[in-house]
């Protein structure tokens, strides 16, 4: 007995070692499977606050580029608006009706604006931290976009912050289609380069070319159809040789993420309700 006790006292650091390692690995695997461990992520209060301060400082560095981007986009949209107005007036729509439409748009757009306060690029699984949380209406499984295209999907939230699974994450799969032809597949990231992802499962008879635009398919309820994802950069074969695998140049520059928008769930709820009622009618 005394020998046993002596043994335990002499080597208890071994037990401590294994205990700590087991705790670490439990945390690691729990994080991968459940969404409840948000305390140990950058969305907890202390980490969030520190990253917010950092984000406040670094966001100034990108102001000029962001401004130019916005100006370009503004110009494009104004041009589009003018064209559409002309077209509508050509078809004999009253100008009062056109103004009425503007009000409707303002009512419907309840996108949540958020700032990126932390992000990573080169890990196998990258996450992004936003400065908006469940208090602002952000909930898990909401889509996140920035001015160029798709960014990712909200993973977990705390009252003030939220963690987003970036597109640069092996867990992230988003349904996409080729603009124009409508052939669809799943886009996923395969590591290494943050500029490219791969679109899988495109059938052999699909027709497309280099430079074609890839947009979200809208089949899932996270992203509506038609949000920019990227352009086709290279056409390859899938591993089993049965379908195409396209190398897609992502439209979003993950190295310069700054302000993003979270897509609200209201439309998703509507779609869900609609699907449910359709199912009921079928029965």
């Amino acid at each position: 007995m005394r020998n046993l006790l002596n043994f335990l006292i002499k080597y208890y650091y071994w037990f401590l070692f294994f205990l700590l390692e087991i705790i670490s690995f439990t945390l690691l695997f729990r994080f991968n499977h459940y969404q409840k461990s948000s305390f140990f992520t950058s969305s907890n209060a202390v980490a969030g606050e520190i990253y917010k301060i950092k984000g406040d400082v670094t966001s100034y560095f990108y102001l000029k580029e962001a401004n130019e981007d916005l100006l370009d986009r503004n110009m494009l949209l104004e041009q589009q608006l003018a064209n559409l107005r002309k077209e509508l007036q050509g078809r004999g729509v009253d100008s009062l009706d056109i103004d009425g439409m503007n009000d409707q748009i303002a009512k419907n757009s309840n996108l949540i604006k958020a700032n990126v306060i932390n992000s990573s690029l080169i890990k196998a699984d990258n996450y992004i931290t936003l400065d908006k949380g469940s208090n602002d209406g952000v909930h898990s499984e909401m889509g996140v976009i920035d001015r160029n295209g798709v960014v990712g999907i909200v993973y977990m939230t705390t009252p003030k912050y939220s963690v987003v699974i970036s597109m640069l994450n092996t867990k992230c799969r988003i349904g996409c289609k080729i603009l124009g032809s409508g052939y669809f597949g799943t886009i996923k990231w395969e590591g290494r380069d943050s500029r490219y992802a791969y679109l899988d499962d495109l059938p052999r008879h699909a027709k497309f070319g280099l430079g074609d635009t890839i947009v979200t398919s809208g089949y899932s309820d996270v992203f509506p159809a038609g949000i920019m994802v990227g352009t086709v950069d290279h056409i390859g074969n899938s591993k089993d040789g049965l379908s195409y695998q396209l190398k897609v140049r992502l439209a979003t520059d993950f190295g310069k993420l700054n302000s993003v928008r979270v897509l609200p769930k209201a439309t998703q709820m509507e779609q869900k309700l609609l699907e449910e009622s359709a199912n009921k009618q079928e029965q």
Partner: protein, 165 residues
Amino acid sequence: MIITYLRRIKWFIALVLIQVLVLNNVHIAGFATPYIYIYLILKMSSGTSRSEMMLWGFFLGLTIDMFSDTPGMNAAATTFIAFIRPLFLRLFSMRDSTDEYVPAIKAIGVSPFVKYVILCVLLHHTALLMIESFSLFDLSTLLIKIGSSTVVTVLCIMGIEGLRK
């Protein structure tokens, strides 16, 4: 005693902030990221007990994990390095006396200290990056990452060491 702890906590906070605010965003050529926070573990006095060192390592790693959304990864690797460190220190320091000392060039000599740092850093990075690549295994990228990150981290640590003199 209390001064030692206060100084350690000061280093803890400083290293965590440097790591998460600056160095986690450094990816030289897309591969090399310095992880200098293990400097705290490397510089603990030789008389520190193994379990105390492992607890420091665990919480240091866990704090880094919280900030970089990798629960458990850094904690596991840093606990491991704290566990194995006394062995390496004994291996490289040729000291006869049993009095306490802080691992440094002055205390154990240039070449043993450099070897000690390189081995510890290499082991830590191997553990950390292997755990990270569980879900995405690619041997050549992994080896490049381990090698380049080790070089950068060792350079940073020797830099801090040089500045502190």
